[in-house]
């Protein structure tokens, strides 16, 4: 039960229930769709970059609590950041969930303030993709990848 509490922390449940920045930007500068075929999680990220910074970012879609909360917290975390900073955050988040060295992983996550709540996902390897899907989709948007992103 404790591992479950670490996974489904209050912040996670709150963001899953009441996602922030939910919706789509009309005429965004970047856009990408992501899909996890295993569980059907779907997310579309739109963002506008102005003067080198994220001026606005929204997401829409549906999926499990982990993917929804991750998307919601991601939009809050990257607002106002430069593209370089956003990509660095993705690297840290990804490392935080996937690197086997727990110390290294947790220190990567610690850099990310609120996003550190996803540390609990590490104990649930099949759920890592749920948390990283919004981020992969975000990076695809930045890369202007037009094919939908798949986590498989």
């Amino acid at each position: 039960m404790n591992e479950l509490r670490d996974l489904y922390q209050e912040v996670v449940l709150d963001h899953a229930r009441r996602p922030r920045n939910f919706g789509a930007i009309h005429g965004p500068s970047h856009r990408a769709a992501g899909h996890n075929p295993l569980c059907g999680d779907k997310v579309t990220v739109t963002l506008t970059i102005a003067d080198g910074r994220v001026a606005d970012v929204r997401f829409e879609g549906g999926g499990c609590a982990i993917s929804m909360a991750s998307a919601s917290l991601m939009t809050e975390a990257i607002m106002g950041k430069t593209e370089v900073e956003v990509r660095a955050m993705f690297e840290e988040f990804h490392a935080g969930l996937t690197v086997t060295d727990e110390g290294a992983a947790l220190s990567a996550l610690a850099e990310l303030d609120k996003l550190a709540v996803f540390a609990g996902v590490r104990e649930f390897p099949v759920r890592v993709k749920c948390a990283t899907l919004p981020w992969h989709t975000l990076v695809a948007a930045l890369d202007h990848v037009s094919e939908p992103v798949k986590t498989e």
Partner: protein
């Protein structure tokens, strides 16, 4: 009613004893007793299946249909004996109507590629239903790409029942094959396949029945059904993966061209001309899954030693109990309310995503399936992207249902439903 009680008890399965036949149940999950409610995806295996496979390896293993030496002859006769077991299981007329394949998926692809390519042409129609597994959708779509064959889909109603009236209307002069599931894997609907086949016969249309989810739960008689093809996967019938069965009426199989080419499926080969083997080997190119077939034979023996009557009584009572207990959970919605259900219950719990349900239940050793169950059109029909699904087998009992209900209570607590 009270007079019936002892009789019912007599026929009740001794689940505790059955569980002892399945080694996996002696191993805890996350320190908890394993509550396995995902047999519809793949069933657990009894020890006798493992022992049969090991036994062949240890005493009678060689390639089949090849050697003149006695070991190969023994392997061949053990392998072919399973074909006879399958024939009896399905009550097919002849053993040559039983083709070993990898599973239901391969069986349907075989029919699509062999029967479909040979006998269907552009504009001809294949009629399926809205609650098919992807394996009974995609092979026909591939045929559509290749040959311009049309796919017609019979609707289902809100209960998850086939809409028979519309189904009948969809049968037309161009309908050349009806391919339907016997039991829908995402909903548990038992399709009134007898009526469907009767209707089809009135129009002279061959029928393929996907029996994957039926054979683990009920006796099937392909002659009584008068279906033209019947397919199943061994691993859902407590047997190994990688082995399944295509039953086809001899005259149809005879008329169909081979699907894959290679060894075993030929009688003679020269570079100018190859003569194909007779049924069923015409459809079994290459070294078959010998050990898989042996395991399947042991699985059939095991199921028959318990008996479909006893299995039916036990599982019907268990399903009724599960439906009753699950219905008591507020915010739980059962997806599909068919009059006649077998094996599975799909459900949603408030707004909690099935994957979250699956993760939380897993911590208590409870295995349920969460996802679209390879039946995305079914999910779309009910306006969901995924469901949680509990499915039942001979080793499940009320304790498993109670564990599921308690586990769902934890999900509610976690998500404050």
């Amino acid at each position: 009613m009270t007079a019936m009680q002892p009789l019912t008890n007599l026929r009740e399965l001794d689940v505790a004893r059955i569980r002892q036949d399945f080694p996996i149940f002696s191993q805890p999950v996350h320190g908890k007793r394993l509550v396995f409610l995902d047999s519809a995806a793949s069933a657990q295996k009894p020890r006798s299946v493992m022992e049969a496979e090991r036994g062949i390896y240890e005493t009678a293993y060689a390639n089949v249909h090849r050697g003149v030496y006695s070991l190969s002859q023994r392997a061949t006769s053990e392998f072919e004996a399973v074909r006879e077991k399958v024939r009896r299981l399905l009550n097919a007329r002849e053993t040559r109507e039983i083709v070993f394949v990898r599973g239901a998926t391969e069986a349907i692809n075989l029919v699509a590629q062999s029967f479909g390519r040979a006998f269907l042409s552009a504009g001809d129609e294949v009629l399926i239903s809205h609650m098919e597994h992807h394996s009974n959708i995609v092979p026909w779509q591939m045929l559509r790409e290749e040959k311009g064959v049309q796919l017609r889909v019979a609707p289902i109603d809100d209960a998850g029942e086939l809409d028979l009236e519309t189904f009948e209307k969809l049968i037309g002069p161009r309908t050349k094959l009806i391919a339907l599931t016997h039991v829908a894997n995402a909903l548990g609907t038992v399709v009134p396949i007898e009526r469907v086949i009767r209707l089809a016969k009135e129009h002279g249309i061959p029928v393929l029945v996907d029996g994957c989810q039926a054979v683990p739960h009920q006796a099937v008689d392909v002659q009584a059904l008068d279906c033209d093809f019947y397919v199943l996967s061994g691993h859902k019938l407590y047997g190994p993966t990688g082995i399944g069965v295509l039953y086809g009426k001899a005259e149809l199989l005879q008329a169909m061209p081979p699907w894959q080419g290679g060894g075993d499926m030929i009688r003679s080969v020269t570079f100018e001309k190859t003569e194909y083997n007779e049924l069923p080997w015409k459809f079994e190119a290459g070294t078959p899954h010998i050990i898989g077939a042996i395991g399947l034979g042991a699985a059939i023996d095991y199921v028959q030693s318990i008996g479909y009557d006893a299995i039916g009584v036990h599982e019907d009572a268990l399903l009724a109990y599960a439906l009753r207990e699950l219905s008591k959970i507020n915010s739980l919605r059962i997806i599909g309310q068919p009059r006649h259900r077998s094996g599975v219950i799909s459900f949603a719990l408030g707004d909690v995503h099935p994957h979250d349900i699956g993760t939380i239940l897993d911590q208590d050793g409870i295995c349920v399936r969460a996802g679209h169950h390879c039946a995305q059109p079914t999910m779309d029909r009910f306006g969901v992207s995924a469901t949680a699904r509990a499915s039942f087998g001979i080793y499940n009992d009320r304790d498993d249902v109670d564990a599921l209900v308690a586990g769902l209570g934890k999900v509610q607590e976690m998500f404050r439903l």
